[in-house]
């Protein structure tokens, strides 16, 4: 049982405080995750053990754990118990590259190229405002951060960028390969949604149990309005959040 190895976090409960007991508990457990005493993937002490060790009622402990699950700090997996969640990737909405963002954060991005083909695909062509029979470079990449799978990324590129090679895509990000050709995407339509993973996504993203993917499609164009890429990406929802700033001043 993974719970056997759970590290015990020092908790001090003040029964005279007006702060609810469950909240005192969850705050101290959250702090242990934030300051690194508990690490991503660590097994988490279970409800029964916590309630006995701290002489707290099971509903109190349950509520504290639920609060941490809701915040995304803990993950429950059937048959595997509760573990500390991976550190989430917070991505700003911008025409930046996940590869570059991960590199900057020191999170060792890696790409496994799954497909690299020339195809005709009318939906992708339409997303790029191109005729339906336009030959497109279709690539599928698995992106990992520090060896943990994070995203399955499908992209389609217009003929002008059909020379982007397998080697380039495994060595760097797509946007870096485009930059090397003097190409900069500056305008994009994006759609963000969520769904359950396909069997292929479950396999590549190593999704066990019941966890969704966050999806993003993007049609990106350069400053002259020429199509740059259409992307259809699936992210492990446990590990990925999209941040954005709305300013209507």
């Amino acid at each position: 049982m993974p719970d056997m190895a759970a590290q015990l976090v020092d908790v001090s409960i003040d029964r005279t405080s007006p702060v609810p007991l469950y909240h005192q508990l969850s705050e101290q457990l959250c702090a242990a995750i934030t300051d690194g005493r508990l690490q991503p993937g660590d097994p988490f002490e279970n409800e029964v053990a916590l309630s006995q060790r701290l002489s707290l009622s099971r509903p109190t402990v349950r509520r504290a754990i639920q609060e941490m699950v809701d915040k995304g700090l803990l993950v429950r997996r059937r048959g595997l118990g509760t573990t500390v969640a991976n550190r989430k990737v917070h991505r700003r909405v911008a025409l930046s590259s996940l590869f570059d963002d991960l590199s900057r954060e020191g999170r060792a991005p890696r790409t496994v190229l799954l497909e690299h083909d020339t195809v005709t695909e009318s939906d992708a062509a339409a997303a790029l405002d191109l005729p339906p029979d336009t030959p497109l470079l279709a690539i599928v990449r698995l992106r990992l951060a520090a060896d943990a799978p994070l995203a399955v990324m499908r992209n389609w590129l217009p003929p002008a960028y059909g020379d982007i090679s397998r080697d380039e895509l495994e060595a760097t990000g797509l946007y870096a390969a485009l930059r090397a050709r003097g190409v900069h995407a500056v305008v994009a339509h994006q759609s963000i949604a969520a769904r359950m993973p396909t069997p292929v996504e479950r396999k590549h993203l190593r999704i066990r149990g019941t966890q969704p993917v966050l999806t993003m499609t993007r049609s990106a164009f350069d400053g002259a309005g020429a199509p740059v890429e259409f992307g259809d990406h699936s992210y492990r929802a446990e590990d990925y959040t999209i941040d954005l700033m709305v300013d209507e001043r």
Copy 2:
């Protein structure tokens, strides 16, 4: 069995065409959904029946159906068979109101007020840049579109808007209630993510089987930088997509 009642869509397959058979099939089935021959919630003809009726192989039919599931046009539910998905709400990222957006589209928004309380909640206060013990108006609303549940919306408001009443919130949207007070949110930080629903969300959103929620948190401020609201919303992922435009020119 729901499949019994599935409506048969006219499909003509051209075996001499270079277009793959599965794609010919999915395109014609998609068209039947887009033009309204198949309606949201309708049972969808199953793989066996389709392959027999059209003399197509089961893998061909399976691939066509999978393509439509991936596009969000069909929904598979354990024990219920495959049905045509609800028409998705496409929401632009903007400081607009879901209530107003649904009204404009003629989709009959309705609000069920689940909670309306004054609370202190340090996380919500922090999200609004307020001291942790600030009394906040905490509201929880279920939003429906044409009587189908779409979102569970939790919002916290600073003391200045603590007079917003139950009646107001059931009659209109939160942003309309704020507008009536001369308040306009113009800047916001948003985070978009996905997770499995909580039991309470499953109940209110009538989520059967395994379906995720798309989540959005938002801290919104007025033109002078004063806090307007902090929201933590969960949307039925099957029915909801967030669209946005990135323009870095």
